[in-house]
C-alpha cells in the first residue's frame, strides 16, 4: 500500500471499532462498488503482554495466566504450555492424566464448534440457528462445570498431571450428555445440508483453494475445508491421541459452507472419541509429583485447538520461572488467509468471512519486535536503551516497557503524565 498508485476505488476502514467485529481489529478494504479489490489486516489492538508477564511468574502461576489467553480454547493453551514444561523437566505424566486431558480437550472442541456454528448463523442473519445451538451448547458447558468446577478456564491441568479425577457417576453423566449432543448435532447436520437459504448464503463465499490453503499456511478447520489433511492429533500425536481411532474430516467445498460441514462432522468424531476415552480410561494416579524448579532447556509443543494448531515455545533456565514463553495462536496462522479470501468478494460477506476462521484476536496479539536495529525502527526512533545496538539480544525491563508505552502515546498526542495532573487538579 502507499507507494504504488492505488487502483481506482474507495478505501473503507472496518475496525478497530466496528459493529461487525466482536473484537477490535483493523481491516482496510479497497472497494469498487460493492466489490473488494484488495484488503489488509492490521493486528495489535489487543496486545496484553502475557508472554512478558510469564517471565515474571513461576511455572505454576503461568499455567493460570496462559489459560486466560483464550476463554474458549483455554484448555488447549494450558495443555500446550504445560506439555512443553513437562518435556523440559522430563516428567512423564500418568496415562490416566493423559486421558483426562484429552477428555476435557474434546469436550472443549465440542463447545467451541457449537459456539462457532451459532456465531456463523448470527453473521448471516440466521439467528434461529444461534439460539438453538447455544441452547444445546449449555449441555456441554454444564458438563465441563461438573467435571472441572468451572464453565470456562477449567483449571484442570497441573504440572505432572491433572487436578481433578472423573468418578464413575461422572462418566455416566458424560455419556448421557454426549448422547443428547449427538442427536442434536445430527439435526444440525441436517439443517446445514438441507436448508437452502444457508447453503446458498455460504456456498462460494470466502473461497480458498487447496494450493492457497497450503501456500498461506492455513490451519485447523479452515485448512481442512480446503482438503488439506492437517491435524496435529494425527500428524504429531500428543497425549494419547495415537491410541484413539478417529478420522480427520476434510471437505473439498473450499468455502465457508465447507468449513461449516467440517466443523459439524468433527463434532461427530469428537463424540466417538469421548466415548472411547470414557470406555478405555486407564486406572491409576492422576498426577505425579513435580519439582518447582525446571532444569535449563527448551521445548516446543503443538496442540490441535478447536481453531487449529497451537504452538507453544518455552525456554527454561533452571529457576522457578521460565526465561521465555512464546505462543502462536491458530488465528495468527489463519489471519493472512482472510485477506486472500476477501479479495474479489463482496463487502457484505466480510463479517462471515472473518468469522469463518473462528478468529480470536486477543489470543493472537502478543508480539513486539525489539531486537537490534529493528528496535529503533519499530519504536519510531525511541529504542529501548540496551536494545538498540545491532544484534543485541537484551530484553526490555518492566520499567522500559512502561516508559515506552508513555512515549508511544505522547507521540500520538496523549500525554498520560499531563492527564494525571488534570485529574489531580480537578479535585479527584
Amino acid at each position: 500500500m502507499g507507494k504504488n498508485p492505488e487502483p481506482r476505488g474507495v478505501r473503507v476502514a472496518i475496525g478497530p471499532q466496528h459493529p461487525a467485529l466482536k473484537e477490535p481489529e483493523s481491516f482496510s478494504v479497497l472497494l469498487a462498488g460493492e466489490k473488494i479489490l484488495e484488503s489488509g489486516v492490521r493486528l495489535g489492538y489487543n496486545h496484553r503482554g502475557i508472554e512478558k508477564a510469564c517471565e515474571e511468574r513461576t511455572y505454576v502461576q503461568d499455567l493460570y495466566l496462559i489459560e486466560r489467553i483464550c476463554g474458549i480454547c483455554s484448555h488447549s493453551h494450558s495443555t500446550a504450555f504445560i506439555s512443553a514444561v513437562e518435556e523440559i523437566a522430563g516428567l512423564e505424566i500418568p496415562r490416566r492424566a493423559k486421558y483426562l486431558r484429552m477428555l476435557i480437550g474434546e469436550l472443549e472442541r465440542v463447545h467451541s464448534h457449537l459456539l462457532w456454528l451459532g456465531v456463523a448463523g448470527h453473521e448471516v442473519g440466521f439467528d434461529t440457528l444461534l439460539m438453538y445451538t447455544w441452547r444445546d451448547r449449555e449441555v456441554v458447558m454444564d458438563l465441563l462445570a461438573a467435571l472441572t468446577g468451572n464453565r470456562v478456564n477449567y483449571g484442570v491441568n497441573t504440572m505432572g498431571g491433572v487436578r481433578r479425577d472423573v468418578s464413575e457417576d461422572q462418566k455416566k453423566q458424560v455419556l448421557t450428555a454426549v448422547d443428547i449432543l449427538e442427536e442434536r448435532t445430527k439435526y444440525y447436520i441436517g439443517v446445514a445440508t438441507q436448508e437452502t437459504t444457508l447453503i446458498q448464503r455460504l456456498s462460494g463465499v470466502g473461497k480458498l483453494n487447496h494450493e492457497d490453503a497450503i501456500h498461506l499456511g492455513a490451519v485447523g478447520p479452515t485448512a481442512r475445508a480446503s482438503s488439506v489433511k492437517r491435524d496435529v492429533r494425527k500428524d504429531d500425536p500428543y497425549l494419547a491421541y495415537d491410541e484413539i481411532p478417529f478420522n480427520v474430516v476434510t471437505s473439498d467445498h473450499n468455502d465457508i459452507y465447507g468449513r461449516a460441514v467440517v466443523r459439524c462432522l468433527e463434532l461427530m468424531e469428537s463424540y466417538n472419541m469421548i466415548r472411547f476415552i470414557i470406555a478405555n480410561m486407564p486406572e491409576g494416579p492422576i498426577a505425579v509429583k513435580a519439582p518447582r524448579k525446571v532444569p535449563a532447556g527448551e521445548a516446543i509443543s503443538r496442540y490441535e485447538a478447536p481453531r487449529g494448531e497451537d504452538v507453544h515455545y518455552v525456554r527454561a533456565n533452571g529457576s522457578e520461572k521460565p526465561e521465555r514463553v512464546k505462543v502462536r495462536a491458530p488465528t495468527l496462522a489463519n489471519v493472512q488467509v482472510v485477506s486472500h479470501m476477501l479479495k474479489d468478494g463482496y463487502l457484505a460477506d466480510l463479517p462471515i468471512v472473518v468469522a469463518a476462521i473462528d478468529p480470536c484476536f486477543s489470543c493472537t496479539d502478543r508480539m513486539i519486535a525489539v531486537a537490534g536495529d529493528m528496535a529503533a525502527i519499530n519504536m519510531g526512533g525511541t529504542a529501548f536503551p540496551g536494545c538498540a545496538d545491532a544484534g543485541s539480544k537484551a530484553r526490555a525491563t518492566w520499567e522500559q516497557v512502561r516508559q515506552h508505552g508513555i512515549e508511544f502515546y505522547r507521540r500520538r498526542g496523549v500525554d498520560f503524565a499531563r492527564l494525571n495532573e488534570t485529574f489531580t487538579a480537578g479535585g479527584r
Binding site: 515474571e56 513461576t58 493460570y64 467435571l147 468446577g149 439443517v191 436448508e195 437452502t196
Partner: protein, 147 residues
C-alpha cells in the same frame, strides 16, 4: 430434500416448551460440587509456610504472623482469579473453596477480608458472608511482585 424453513418445526415446537433459561436472581442456581468460589481459611490449621502466597497467580493472599505459631490471612477477593491453586498447594488443608459466587461489591475495600486466628472456626462458618471479621480498612501493603 433441500428446502427452506428446515428449522420451522423446531421453532414451532419450542413455543410450547419450557424456557431454556433460568430466571436467575429469582431462582437460585446451585454451583457444581467442584466449583471454585470464595475461599475459606481455617487459621487453626495454618502453619505459616506461606506456600499459598508464593503460588497465588494474582497475589491475592497475605499470611501474617500475629503471635507464636498464630497466623492470620488477608484475602483480596478483587484480585483473586478463583483458580484454587492455594487449596491444592496448602499442605495442611487450611484453605477451602466454597460454592459462594455472588461477590460483587461497590466498595473495593469490602472485598479485602481478614481471617483472624482468634475467631472461632464454627462461628465463622455459621456467620453470613464476609463476617470472618471483614475489614473495610485501607488495603494491606501487598507483595510488590506484580505492581
Amino acid at each position: 430434500m433441500k428446502r427452506p424453513g428446515r428449522m420451522f418445526h423446531e421453532v414451532m415446537r419450542s413455543m410450547f416448551r419450557k424456557a431454556a433459561t433460568v430466571r436467575y436472581p429469582f431462582v437460585k442456581v446451585q454451583m457444581p460440587a467442584r466449583f471454585r468460589g470464595r475461599l475459606k481459611f481455617d487459621a487453626s490449621k495454618c502453619i505459616g509456610c506461606k506456600l499459598c502466597m508464593k503460588d497465588c497467580p494474582s497475589g491475592a493472599i497475605t499470611i501474617q504472623k500475629v503471635g507464636d505459631k498464630r497466623f492470620e490471612a488477608v484475602f483480596d477477593f478483587a484480585r483473586c482469579m478463583y483458580c484454587a491453586q492455594c487449596v491444592d498447594t496448602c499442605p495442611k488443608k487450611a484453605l477451602e473453596a466454597t460454592g459462594e459466587f455472588e461477590l460483587a461489591q461497590l466498595d473495593r475495600g469490602k472485598l479485602i477480608v481478614t481471617f483472624k486466628n482468634d475467631c472461632p472456626v464454627a462461628a465463622a462458618a455459621a456467620a453470613p458472608a464476609g463476617t470472618a471479621t471483614a475489614t473495610a480498612t485501607a488495603p494491606e501493603p501487598k507483595s510488590d511482585a506484580h505492581e
